[in-house]
């Protein structure tokens, strides 16, 4: 919330939010060290209503905005910080079920079972990494809770991780905490966002990350436990809890366990490099690549037997609106969608001589929709003109500004299925080395 930047510079602010978002505004303020800020609440919604209706809301809110604009006084008290290490320890008597109830009641579990994080098991979990338990990895949004290696281990334990999963989990969290991934907005948005963690390199075999049939689904312990731990950390340390802070309109089962899967490097067509090599790492490096996306779109194409037909199929399936790109939010067109190509689809293209770049170029040229598809109120047309040249209502708008922005991975096993992950606004892909 940029108003806090102005406050930090000594310029007072009035923030207008709709009724359902007051809690989120105050939580964000608290996380930035402000005990209270001047907020004016108007009845939800503001978006997608007529000009007359929104002007009526402005008219109704004006007296309070004017009054608080002149009279609001900050509270005299300030907040104090507590040391992030060691994590608080406490004693509790009860059954395993009682522990689970206690944790849920305190907002420390998402409602599915957790393993009690006992001191003894915690010591064992910390043996999975050479990192010191008091090391701070970063602040987990939106609460901006301080995440130490010890707290990673506490939550990993609760999610059922084994100690050997710690290096990958830590690397994935380092990726998600990078500001360019925009985890902060993703954990508070009204959208159905989800964290995506793609694993490459030797670590796949070392800890048995699933990367073939059903790689992102059930029955794969490391994928599931790591995905659960990531989301648990977002919930407990990050405070991304519905309905007041996590504002997801609908939510998703991926709020419990995020996407964690390995690239099927064994099924890369000849001449196609794995994702981490495309991103500048050595083939022998273990790397996690993270971003935040919307739920994937499935491409079920059993029929196309040329690359051109495959591209035509894709082009009718995906479009810029899936990540609200185009003239409504042109900045989204700078991001990188993930094309998770099934091995059979990839092989079909490669056997016709196509490279990843051929695929990217053809998709970029064809997966377009006309400018006239967007509401007239979208206001980023000028930015698109700067990138793509003059526009008419008939101009065909691509998903990204440049074809090389598409990331291509080989995902899953047998079948004629591929998947498209549209990026969450503001979320750039980040890759991190997995180190012990």
């Amino acid at each position: 919330m940029d108003q806090l930047e102005f406050e930090r510079l000594g310029i007072p602010t009035v923030t207008v939010v709709t009724s359902g978002f007051v809690g989120l505004a105050k939580t964000v303020a608290l996380s930035e060290g402000v005990i209270d800020m001047c907020v004016v609440s108007v009845p939800h919604p503001m978006g997608m209503i007529s000009t007359a209706d929104i002007e009526k809301k402005a008219l109704d809110a004006f007296p309070e905005i004017l009054k608080l604009g002149m009279e609001w006084q900050p509270p005299g008290e300030t907040l104090s910080s507590q040391s992030p290490y060691p994590a608080e320890r406490f004693q509790f008597t009860g059954t395993l079920g009682d522990v689970n109830k206690l944790f849920f009641d305190r907002g420390w579990s998402m409602g599915i079972p957790v393993i009690p994080p006992t001191s003894e098991d915690l010591d064992n979990m910390l043996k999975g990494t050479s990192r010191k338990p008091d090391e701070v990895l970063g602040q987990v949004p939106p609460r901006m809770g301080t995440l130490t290696i010890e707290l990673v281990a506490v939550n990993a334990l609760m999610a059922g991780c084994k100690p050997e999963y710690m290096p990958l989990l830590i690397a994935a969290l380092e990726g998600l905490l990078a500001p360019e991934v925009n985890w902060r907005a993703a954990l508070a948005t009204t959208g159905t966002s989800q964290s995506v963690v793609i694993v490459n390199g030797p670590v796949i075999k070392e800890i048995d990350i699933a990367n073939e049939q059903g790689a992102a689904g059930k029955g794969h312990h490391p994928n599931g436990a790591i995905g659960y731990a990531i989301n648990l950390i977002a919930y407990t340390v990050g405070g991304s809890k519905p309905p007041s802070v996590d504002k997801s309109t609908f939510g998703s089962p991926a709020d419990f366990i995020c996407w964690v899967f390995g690239e099927n490097e064994g099924k890369l067509p000849s001449g196609w490099e794995p994702l981490h090599v495309d991103r500048g790492f050595k083939k022998s490096d273990s790397v996690v690549t993270t971003m935040v996306s919307y739920p994937p779109v499935e491409n079920i194409d059993h029929w196309s037997d040329t690359p051109q037909e495959q591209i035509r199929w894709w082009s009718h399936l995906i479009n810029p609106m899936m990540s609200i790109g185009g003239p409504c939010r042109s900045g989204v067109m700078n991001l990188s969608p993930i094309m998770a190509i099934g091995p059979e689809h990839a092989q079909s293209m490669a056997s016709a001589g196509w490279t990843k770049d051929d695929f990217r170029q053809a998709l970029w040229e064809q997966a377009r929709i006309p400018m006239s598809a967007w509401p007239a109120g979208c206001n980023d047309a000028e930015d698109i003109i700067n990138h793509l040249g003059p526009l008419t209502p008939e101009s065909m708008i691509p998903i990204t500004f440049r074809p090389e922005q598409f990331l291509i991975i080989i995902a899953g096993g047998d079948g004629k299925q591929s998947h498209y992950f549209a990026p969450f606004p503001g979320s750039l892909v980040t890759s991190k080395l997995v180190t012990k």
Binding site: Q3, P12, V34, M46, L66, Q73, S81, Q91
Partner: protein, 105 residues
């Protein structure tokens, strides 16, 4: 498992390391003051703020209005990200006395 056990447990929530700051008191009047309107690009936020600007101009003598999104259009590109330091600097250089922002939704 229904057995009563004494558990030694860790709190998984952690703490928040704050750099606390106290916000500035608001000025007693908006007369002859500069008001910066800040829109994050969400639908209708600009319409709402334009109406507030119109009402302020009518009711408050000498008030000067700045529409932030006209100075730095990137703040309204809707990436759900904070404004860049450059954008904030450009806006603060206009020396607003108060910022009125609409988060919309």
């Amino acid at each position: 498992m229904s057995e009563q056990t004494i558990w030694e447990l860790a709190n998984p929530e952690g703490t928040v390391q704050l750099q606390p700051f106290v916000t500035k008191p608001h000025c007693q009047t908006l007369e002859n003051k500069t008001v910066l309107f800040y829109w994050n690009g969400k639908h209708n936020g600009d319409v709402f703020l334009n109406k507030i600007a119109e009402l302020l101009t009518e009711k408050v003598e000498g008030v000067k209005i700045i529409r932030g999104w006209e100075v730095t259009p990137e703040i309204a590109r809707g990436l759900n990200q904070g404004a860049s330091k450059e954008a904030v600097s450009k806006l603060t250089a206009l020396k607003p006395d108060i910022v009125i922002g609409a988060q919309a939704d």
